[in-house]
Symmetry: C2
Subunit: 327 residues, 2 copies
């Protein structure tokens, strides 16, 4: 079993790599060949018994996609993207990386399919950014994609391409609409949504964190662990059971910021909660109000995708996976 991870140096890519290196099978088979690709050189994983190729490459450059599939990987995880803020500011770069890069990959596979019948599983990381306000709560599986960012537009277009290429039999694609990932490990970053993680991650290690929005803001979350679980399940799932609608809103936890804070209090006590400093920011609040508060995710649940069922469990996953079990 040969797996290719495009976007391997990102947070989900690194965690997915780690799970595979620690023995997670794909389609019931051990992964003995792992190809890792990103625009920054992915690190060679330690302690892996199989073959690893690490490549620094940009999918949107001519010839890259063909090179990536030359060894005909069985499963391709396509996680590569520039993030929402950057795609919004740099219109051309966003379309080049997030749309043309994906299309180049899909086209390279199509040509290989026509040449020799190659037909890999393609797992595409999409996003809840494909929907745009005004939004119902919860958002049903059949709600339309009317994104309000170029990033969401590019993801929605890739979803459509993925379905069409799959319908034609060029590859077996499945798109995974990831909730906001919480608790993101690492340092606080400049993303507008960063506070959802900051207000939990920082207090858990005795650091202050800034909360720029009211506690009534409701949003849609899943843990990094569940996000990797979605990817692995998407690689395994029987696509006949999924049918032609290949892009699935994943399950998650819908919670208000207030509910996040109460979960933190239950898990780590008032001393942690006291480290949250309120600095209201009208612009961030306005952005958050336009985001998805939660999805039904009925189809994904029926198809066996699972997430945490409470914010307590999301915090617990972070403590186990990032803090060696101790908050």
């Amino acid at each position: 079993m040969h797996a290719l991870i495009v976007g391997a140096a990102g947070m989900v890519g690194r965690k997915l790599t780690d799970r595979i290196v620690r023995g997670a099978p794909l389609q019931g088979k051990a992964v003995d060949h792992l190809s890792l690709v990103d625009v920054v050189a992915p690190e060679t994983p330690e302690g892996y018994s199989g073959t690893t190729d690490c490549l620094q490459a940009d999918l949107s450059e001519a010839g890259t996609a063909e090179k990536l599939i030359a060894a005909r990987p069985d499963v391709i995880f396509h996680l590569a993207a520039i993030v929402s803020g950057e795609a919004e500011k740099d219109f051309e770069k966003g379309y080049r990386i997030n749309l043309d890069g994906s299309r180049a990959l899909f086209e390279a596979i199509r040509h290989a399919n026509l040449a020799d019948g190659y037909r890999p599983r393609v797992v595409f990381a999409s996003s809840i950014a494909v929907v745009g306000a005004p939004l119902p709560y919860p958002i049903p599986d059949e709600f339309h994609a009317t994104p309000l960012t170029s990033y969401g537009t590019q993801k929605a277009i890739c979803e459509l391409l993925l379905s069409d290429y799959s319908r034609h039999g060029f590859f077996d694609g499945i798109g995974i609409r990831l909730p906001t990932i919480c608790i993101r490990p690492g340092k606080p970053n400049a993303a507008a949504s960063g506070f959802f993680s900051n207000i939990l991650r920082e207090p858990l290690v005795g650091q202050e964190a800034v909360l720029p929005v009211p506690e009534t803001i409701r949003h849609w979350h899943t843990s990094p662990r569940s996000a990797v679980g979605f990817m692995l399940h998407a690689a395994d799932i029987d696509l006949d059971e999924v049918g032609p609608r290949r892009n699935l809103s994943m399950p998650g936890v819908s919670a208000t910021v207030g509910e996040q804070i109460e979960a933190l209090r239950r898990v780590a006590g008032q001393k942690a909660v006291a480290l949250i400093r309120r600095e209201p920011d009208a612009m961030i609040t306005k952005m958050c109000e336009s985001w998805a508060a939660g999805f039904d995710a009925t189809r994904a649940r029926q198809l066996g995708f699972t997430s945490e069922d409470s914010f307590d469990a999301i915090i617990q996953a972070h403590i186990e996976d990032e803090l060696e079990g101790a908050a």
Copy 2:
């Protein structure tokens, strides 16, 4: 007022040209300059007092889009596409014409916008093919686009691009999801949906027509006259009122084939109905069963788009517009 019609040689393009030539204003102003473009040379309209440019050109060829907007038309009607059957059979041609051609036009406008602030109204002809079975009846405005053809995929992608380019202010775009147009003038053609028109148009002039499906098949129709009306209204409408969701399912008439035939009987009598010959075709029937039976079109109606309210009216429009008032 300078209008550009891309896809001017097609059925809707010719009828739109005709309405403009006969004096239909755009945004309250007389159209004194009309540019007609298609892959087959559009005919120069007779009796037009303004300036006409007719150009045979393929939007998907490098440099064409820039040439089309060099004179900075105020309103651009983008109707050019290869049809569903051809886009399905010739995957590369479908994407080149229906996706890359549209994107080339949008990109040319964006570059002109950045260069000199050019910001035209762009009216894009989309299609009910953006939705795919299983479908509710009626289909709500917020139903997702999960097309089951490459043509529908390409139209859905262009809708997303149109919204995003409009949101960035590169142009003022609006997408019009056309119902199946009935009664199509001209000769019977090979399209699977052709019978919806054939069974009315041919008997109205004393000719036989073949009905390949059961009378229970329900579908979504509008007249050529209403389709042109949609385009003209889309050129005029206040886009602030439309908001960021720029792609609208148009109103139409939902009717079973049986209801179509009863309307024919009321308008033209049993002698016309007797000319319909039943030749059941399982493949065409299966295709029709997966098509949209009808849309709510609530938003479009609220925004002033109007269609016929019965099949009798659709037949009457054909008699007036194509048969000089006499069936």
